[in-house]
Symmetry: C2
Subunit: 307 residues, 2 copies
Amino acid sequence: MSSLRYAIIGSGGIGGFYGGFLAKSGKQVDFLFHSDYEQVIQHGLKVDSVLGNFHLPAVSAFRSAKDMPPCDIVLVCLKTTHNHLLKTLLPPLLKPDTLVILIQNGLGLEEDLIKDFPSLHLAGGLGFICSQKSGPGHVSHLDYGKLTLAAYNPPAEAIIEQVAADMKQAGLEIEVAPDLESARWKKLVWNIPFNGSTVVLDATTRQLMENPATCQLMSDMMMEVMAGANACGIKYPIEESFIHEMLEMTKQMTPYSPSMKLDYDHHRPMEIEYIYTRPLQKALQAGVNMRRIGMLEKQLRFKAIYL
Amino acid sequence: MSSLRYAIIGSGGIGGFYGGFLAKSGKQVDFLFHSDYEQVIQHGLKVDSVLGNFHLPAVSAFRSAKDMPPCDIVLVCLKTTHNHLLKTLLPPLLKPDTLVILIQNGLGLEEDLIKDFPSLHLAGGLGFICSQKSGPGHVSHLDYGKLTLAAYNPPAEAIIEQVAADMKQAGLEIEVAPDLESARWKKLVWNIPFNGSTVVLDATTRQLMENPATCQLMSDMMMEVMAGANACGIKYPIEESFIHEMLEMTKQMTPYSPSMKLDYDHHRPMEIEYIYTRPLQKALQAGVNMRRIGMLEKQLRFKAIYL
């Protein structure tokens, strides 16, 4: 097994964290930076993590994908609102068997990308993590960290195990899931209610759980997502016990602003399309109208115009 | 036909307007004032109205219902959040055949009141009006004004026609509706979506109509209220054409903050119970789960704790 070369597209709170851990463990990792490029070239990448702080003084940093070498694994850690850029960002990085992993939330991401790159080896990743950029070249990892990986097409299956092994060696918690669509829906059970509701109600997860009305609403919305997911015929249907677990976990969590709330508060575009609109469409095609989720989506589209 | 004596309970934007018009036309009207009492005793009641401004220098004003004389008609123009006060406010005003008219929005108001006053002659009223208190003893009537009256029980039927005649004579637009429950539901078709959504999204009616997502949501919610109302078996079912009319009317309206939005902005309690909770319960009992309305109610209950 030869050593894999990684590229990180979108070196923010997520990309900086996973790429940083891989680089720290001795893997070859090329990072694409945007506004942070100068800072990283001069001072390296700093990761403050609950798993232990570290500093990478010399990072293989690039400010343009065109200058990056081809690699074996591309970790796409962009916000999905920037996925239209992949059409130009990816080609310089691709060899015939390069695996692209979309570490992003939502549904339909791989379907969209494969239209532009029909023979791409493709996988998805879901980060269960609280991590954000706290400054230029500076990542703050606050809690959790588990990454779930799953192949989107058969050529991705073998190499994804090697990626998982690299990441475990780097000290990360990794799970390889047997079905990507099931894993994506499962994460949406939490993301859909809480991302949007914290924006619309200007609230933390804790506040939503402490109020009996919104606590019930979060549960109602989770049930709707479960019904939508299961109607779509996912390979590993979501069970009601999972919803109870998620609600209990959220009650225990420190008050938390999900990524969409942070985006809204910082006047950045929200990931409405892949987190709300696509799941709504898929569920509707399968015969389930997720009415509350549809309402939340419309409320978010209203909030979005005042960003 | 002898002349009716009126009492106004809740002399704010609505009570001051309707009572003011009756008094101006020469009817005997006793007003219960709370914080405005001193101002009105000294300077009278001022009404700025699109129908013509006027000033009543000498008003029959009271600061306690206990001091008020019995009357023929009580117009209750309180916020429904104060209806628990009626148990003590009404008795001094009541003769055996006094008619009480609840000029308030929502469902279940008369059912609750009749429990405390089983033999009460009772009616409901719905003000289609933009009117608010702009200062002590000062009412600003900005638009519309039609009052719909309907009997709640048979003893109210005859006398309500006399009230309507008095009000017409006073220059007001009055309709006597044949069924109170139908009229209350019909008004909720507009009130339910717009009252709550302007609060939750911090928006005017215009902003909600101009955004395609929320314009659709308002329509979806109106359809839900229609389904709930019609399932309850109201005598005059709501038709879809009415929803299109309401949406068109709202598009044409000047940007407007409904009463619930004004209450929220001024840190006053919101009328969630009678405008949301009761209609939800009635529809559910009739087999219709108004899911979006239930979601809006829960969002409002969340907003209410931060008033």
